[in-house]
């Protein structure tokens, strides 16, 4: 290098010192800002130890349920003399992380679902049995709900809060206008679909971008065709997916696919519901939460009928009605307070308070005051009351890992390619064996 270069370096040093101080200052400043805020942010903690304070993990993240739950809990705080700290996490995230959540200092009470999905975690000692609470308030619930709240060891782990049926929803005005009749058998259903097509409607709205909505269709066809017992046994891994009975379910479904909305895998259920609101589609098999999309006048126009009968041996004896509720975590910091809260949540008052703001469900408590129910809610009560069997939905009736990693993509595969049922069921069966073996 030339002499010029080294000279320039020496000159450069003068400037460097200035910059160095600036840099140092920056570092110091950021450190100063960060440290107190870090201390402040992680140091706050008012839980634990205080005997009337209960922590509450909630996945009620959508605006309507969130507000409704907050209202119910505030009322509970007053009546039970408790202070409830709600920790709300986004709906899907909460579910995906339940595994790590429950193992690392979870809240005292947390929201969850009934069925196999509850038993799975109870078995692994991630929840505390609350049979003593049930001894007090068990009378609030029907036998079916009791069964869904019980773990494999016979203890209860779950307090049902509300539930909602899955059914075929439609707009009354559309049916009246076109003179449609409510179908009760599959033949009538198919005929109705053809009629709708002729009238320029898409017969059945359909959306499976999120992967789980299509499970409802599978469940119903299976229960109608092969009966509730076979369906539940299949969910629990006790039957083979290569069984001809299962294949026939897919065959039936394939027969109905031409009447379903195209492009389902790119559509969310909200969008599909919107097409029903807009009178572009005639019917939609979904849970009662579809009502969230029906606002104003459309809300009064909403109605449903039970999924039609396929096999007269089974008729329409089963209904899919997922139950949402709450559980007690494995090592709560305030067990007594939490149990009091759970008792409160099982009460008719608590559930009624909730439903005032979120009327797309019905109370689990069988003594709940139904006088304020909308006609739709009353119909839902009737539907569930008249059913012999209640299923919970595919992803709650079976192992979560099987539902998420096998069934979800398999059903999407079926929608894309409904002709290769043999190949599909063989793949599902192989994976099922692998997963259930553990």
């Amino acid at each position: 290098m030339t002499e010029d270069a080294s000279l320039r370096n020496l000159q450069g040093h003068g400037v460097v010192i200035e910059r160095r101080t600036v840099l140092k200052g920056m570092l110091a400043a950021s450190g100063l800002i960060a440290f107190p805020s870090l201390a402040a942010c992680t140091g706050e903690s008012s839980t634990g130890g205080s005997s009337n304070s209960v922590t509450f993990g909630s996945n009620y993240s959508d605006a309507v349920p969130k507000k409704a739950l907050a209202t119910a809990l505030t009322a509970g705080e007053k009546s039970e003399n408790l202070k409830v700290e709600i920790n709300t996490v986004d709906h899907n995230t909460f579910q995906e992380q339940i595994n790590s959540y429950l193992q690392a200092d979870p809240d005292d009470v947390f929201s969850w679902f009934a069925g196999f999905r509850m038993q799975f975690f109870a078995e692994r000692a991630l929840a505390t049995p609350i049979t003593d609470v049930w001894d007090k308030i068990g009378g609030n619930y029907s036998e079916a709900l009791n069964k869904q709240s019980t773990g494999t060891d016979g203890e209860q782990y779950f307090i049902p809060f509300y539930y909602y049926p899955w059914a075929v929803f439609y707009r009354k005005s559309v049916f009246e206008q076109n003179g449609y009749e409510i179908p009760t058998t599959m033949d009538q259903f198919t005929a109705l679909a053809k009629q709708m097509q002729n009238d320029g409607l898409t017969p059945i709205a359909f959306a499976d971008k999120d992967g789980w909505p299509a499970m409802g269709t599978f469940d119903y066809i299976n229960m109608r065709q092969n009966g509730y017992d076979f369906h539940i046994a299949l969910m629990r891994g006790e039957e083979s997916w290569s069984d001809p009975k299962v294949k026939s379910v897919f065959d039936t479904w394939r027969g109905l696919l031409p009447y379903h909305q195209k492009g389902a895998l790119g559509r969310t259920w909200q969008d599909a519901a919107q097409t029903v609101v807009d009178k572009e589609a005639g019917m939609y098999l979904l849970g009662m939460f579809v009502g969230q999309q029906f606002t104003g006048l459309a809300a009064e126009d909403l109605d449903f009928f039970s999924f039609p009968e396929i096999n007269s041996e089974f008729g329409q004896d089963s209904v899919e009605a997922p139950i949402d509720g709450f559980m007690l975590s494995a090592d709560p910091s305030n067990e007594d307070g939490a149990k009091k809260l759970l008792e409160y949540l099982s009460s008719a008052e608590a559930q009624a308070t909730y439903l005032e703001s979120d009327p797309n469900n019905i109370a689990a408590n069988q003594d709940a005051d139904t006088s304020n129910y909308s006609p739709l809610q009353n119909k839902a009560v009737e539907l569930i009351g008249a059913a012999d069997n209640i299923s919970q939905f595919l992803d709650r009736d079976t192992r979560p890992d099987f539902a998420a990693t096998v069934m979800l993509p398999s059903l999407q595969e079926f929608i894309n390619n409904p002709d290769d049922v043999d190949g599909l069921t063989k793949e599902i069966e192989q994976q099922k064996k692998s997963i259930f073996a553990g």
Binding site: E96, N99, R117, G263, A264, L265, R267, E427, Q431
Partner: protein, 310 residues
């Protein structure tokens, strides 16, 4: 003084003799502390994951609930796991697209913008802007473009009714390419900035000399500038490979990586994060991804370092 000094003695001796004990200690700390943190939080867990890939575990309970099952996970992946081969294909396609289209585009833009022209900051800004955005936003913005009935593209094409809409994101035969466009939107700006930084550091005299010799711009670039930029080229290539093998975010935000958008990274996530995880199985998938990435990078690094040692 420095000229005479550095010209005379062999450099190695000079360096060794001038490192005091304090210097060695300083160097040791400077290298040691970061390495410790890095190994503890990254390599430790990575090796544990490799170990876990030979087990079966649902992530619940202590380490005593882990069950060793040998290579069964790998065999399952190769034989009975339907999304695996599609995911592999998609990753390869992604890689080829980036290497062949997106990265050269970024380099091309950098070369164009390396000249002293007006508005260069505006052009750079416009191209780099997507890089600065979070993946959730990129995914969302492009869903606004691609939505079947409400999206910009279909509306402009006039195909928004039930009968004729183009299902950009829901149709498995085209959605990967649609997503690649969105991903490239971001990738091009990223490569452009990296390459621009490199171009700026090229000695201007080299270019002037070539210009005086009568070389055209293209010749100057390919024969003079490009070879000098070897370190930057290495970085660019490595970045491209990383980005394509790691592609996860956009796909996950759009549809959780299903229905034509399967990728190895998403498969790993779906099996590990979740209610009842299949930790062993997911770890095996992760190890496969790891081997593919490491294989490429190690090969390339050895190439580079071998040449420099000559």
């Amino acid at each position: 003084m420095s000229v005479a000094a550095s010209a005379n003695k062999p450099r190695q001796d000079r360096r060794r003799r001038l490192l005091t004990r304090r210097d060695v200690l300083t160097l040791g700390l400077m290298l040691g502390i970061p390495t410790f943190i890095h190994v503890l939080l990254v390599w430790g867990p990575a090796l544990s994951s490799i170990a876990l890939s030979f087990t079966r575990w649902d992530g619940i309970g202590g380490l005593d609930t882990i069950e060793v099952i040998g290579t069964k996970n790998y065999r399952d992946i190769a034989t009975i796991y339907p999304p695996f081969y599609p995911a592999l294909r998609h990753n390869i396609y992604w890689l080829l697209f980036f290497i062949g289209v997106a990265t050269p585009a970024g380099m091309f833009m950098a070369v164009l913008l390396d000249k002293e022209i007006r508005f260069t900051r505006f052009y750079q800004g416009a191209l780099f802007l997507p890089v600065v955005l979070s993946l959730a936003i990129v995914g969302f913005i492009w869903q606004l473009m691609y939505a079947p009935e409400q999206g910009l593209i279909n509306n402009v094409l006039g195909r928004t009714s039930q009968a004729n809409f183009i299902d950009w994101l829901g149709d498995p035969s085209i959605n990967l390419r649609a997503v690649l466009v969105a991903a490239s939107w971001r990738h091009v700006g990223y490569i452009m900035i990296l390459y621009l930084a490199g171009l700026k550091s090229v000695d201007a005299s080299l270019r002037e000399a070539a210009a005086i010799d009568g070389a055209t711009e293209a010749q100057t670039f390919f024969r003079v500038v490009f070879p000098v930029l070897k370190p930057i080229n290495v970085v660019i290539l490595v970045v491209t490979v990383i980005e394509s093998l790691r592609a996860f975010d956009i796909v996950y935000v759009i549809n959780k990586g299903t229905n034509g958008l399967e990728l190895l990274s998403v498969l790993v996530t779906n099996n590990i994060i979740g209610e009842a995880s299949r930790i062993g199985f997911g770890s095996a998938l992760a190890v496969i991804l790891l081997i593919i990435s490491l294989g490429f990078i190690l090969y390339y690094l050895f190439q580079t370092f071998r040449k420099e040692m000559r």
